[in-house]
């Protein structure tokens, strides 16, 4: 591990930015090659929630908590407004059955040290007066936070650049070259080869094609989501809201589109409304049917939104992985190749811990215990034909 050499990070989204930032902090200035402009991929099409309540395993939860702490530090220390706040979120349940499941989930999370408060209809109304009056109840998670994904990506990249990292936009990486010994020796771009000994692939759903050139098969699949943006609606909601079935939609691998309400207010008083999940290849066109389905969920929970307008929408591709954990760390079969991809809908939340783990691998060739769960090597199929 002595010949780290030059480090190239493929991808200028939030994960690439976090890797560049933490490497920069460890005196390793990386070259970030972004195929379009920073935060032009999934990072410009997502909400900015930093959640615990949708995590499906202890390992995921541990990562989420570590990352959430890092986010709080970043918000304080980065020289930019990330629009970070930690008001907590409220999960909404329509039925008693749903609420009971929510209660159980809250109890589990509480055992793991996460603060949660179950709310009856009166409690719900006290926190969120504009909710529909016929809900069974909710759960308040006071420690959940939000950040503006684009602002955060750009802030980390800018901070990394101040520490010596270099960002090149319009620089699409088409593949990874290996030398005779099978170690990374360059990345190929449209402008020619960029020699390097260490490559971090943080290209989200576009990672598959790139690492295939080095003989690696990623189990990452694009999972399309939609977000609607409302006209300004100051004071409509006080916390980000999620409906109870959101966690299930994250977990499900079903075909067909799954819609579950997520509502997040931004610093400019617009609301971001999601969510949808479907496996539709790399298609990023906005589907009117899905727009309508999300609008219907939004109006169901927030009747006051009925007269508000949607002013725009967008769709993005979450990099889904089969066990809902990202792949962060070295690819043992290809010395010099590291992965930082596969975060599904938790890319924003888990970006800082990803960057930190990744930097630890590259700089010290070691990782904390919680990084074990995200080792790329856990997928034996990673090592394809060479």
């Amino acid at each position: 591990m002595s010949e780290r050499g030059d480090v190239v990070i493929i991808g200028g989204g939030i994960v690439g930015a976090a890797c560049a930032y933490y490497l920069g902090g460890a005196d390793v200035p990386a070259l970030v090659l972004e195929r379009d402009y920073p935060a032009s991929g999934t990072s410009r099409a997502c909400d900015g929630l930093i959640l615990y309540s949708d995590k499906l395993s202890e390992a995921e939860l541990a990562l989420a908590r570590a990352s959430a702490t890092l986010w709080a530090d970043l918000a304080a220390s980065l020289d930019a407004d990330l629009e970070y706040n930690r008001r907590g979120t409220v999960v909404l349940y329509e039925t008693e059955e749903g609420l009971a499941a929510g209660r159980r989930k809250a109890a589990e999370l509480q055992l793991a040290g996460v603060r949660a408060e179950v709310l009856d209809p009166a409690g719900l109304r006290a926190l969120e007066p504009n909710l529909a009056p016929d809900l069974a109840g909710g759960v308040y998670y006071p420690d959940e936070a939000q950040v503006d994904a684009r602002a955060a990506t750009l802030a980390m990249l800018d901070a990394a650049r101040a520490m010596g990292a270099v960002l090149r936009g319009n620089s699409e990486v088409t593949g990874i070259r290996l030398d005779a010994s099978g170690r990374v020796c360059a990345v190929t771009t449209r402008d020619g080869d960029v020699p390097c000994r260490t490559v971090v692939c943080a290209a989200g759903v576009w990672s598959n094609e790139i690492v295939r050139t080095a003989g690696v098969e990623l189990p990452v699949k694009p999972r399309k989501g939609h977000i609607l943006v409302t006209a300004r609606a100051p004071g409509l909601i006080a916390h980000p809201l999620l409906e109870g079935s959101y966690a299930a939609s994250v977990k499900s691998s079903a075909e067909g589109v799954q819609v579950a309400l997520v509502a997040e207010m931004t610093a400019s008083d617009t609301l971001l409304l999601g969510s949808s999940r479907e496996f539709l290849g790399y298609d990023r066109t906005v589907s009117p049917a899905v727009v309508q389905a999300i609008a219907a969920r939004a109006v169901r929970f927030l009747p006051g939104l009925a007269q508000r307008s949607i002013i725009r929408s967008y769709a993005g591709l979450r990099p889904w992985s089969p066990d809902h954990l990202p792949l962060v760390g070295p690819v043992d079969s290809v010395p010099g190749l590291y992965l930082a991809a596969g975060h599904e809908g938790a890319g924003i939340g888990l970006a800082p811990v990803t960057g930190q783990i990744l930097a630890g691998w590259i700089v010290r060739d070691e990782a904390p215990p919680l990084a074990e769960a995200v080792r790329p090597g856990r997928f034996p199929s990673l090592m394809g034909e060479r």
């Binding site: 609606a233 100051p234 508000r308």
Partner: protein, 110 residues
């Protein structure tokens, strides 16, 4: 400030949607404002001397700019529905219009 060329005498638009009363009033923040059949809310507001329709998030006054429904500056609340473009909304008898000029950041929805 603006005025109708012949106040009280309404031109009849060649292709107005609803023939009938030539002139009527609309309620603007409680005041009765004259309007003509075929006129837009923006035209009626300007004719009555009201130039400021709303304020932006920083409190800046806004009114008519493009006049054709693409700039979204002339937003007013009509019959409880917010964010309506006054320049393309036809004035109709009994319409209630609320301007967003009272408070900073007012969003114009009842």
């Amino acid at each position: 400030m603006t005025w109708n060329r012949s106040p009280g005498a309404c031109p009849t638009a060649p292709s107005s949607a609803a023939p009938g009363d030539e002139s009527f009033t609309i309620d603007v923040d409680g005041a009765a404002v004259p309007a003509c059949n075929g006129q837009t809310v923006a035209a009626a507001l300007l004719a009555s001397g009201r130039q400021v329709f709303r304020r932006t998030a920083t409190g800046a006054p806004r009114g008519v700019f493009c006049g054709m429904g693409v700039c979204f500056d002339c937003l007013v609340t009509v019959n409880g529905q917010g964010d309506q473009r006054a320049c393309i909304t036809p004035a109709r008898p009994g319409m209630r219009v609320r301007l967003g000029i009272a408070e900073r950041g007012h969003d114009g929805v009842d």
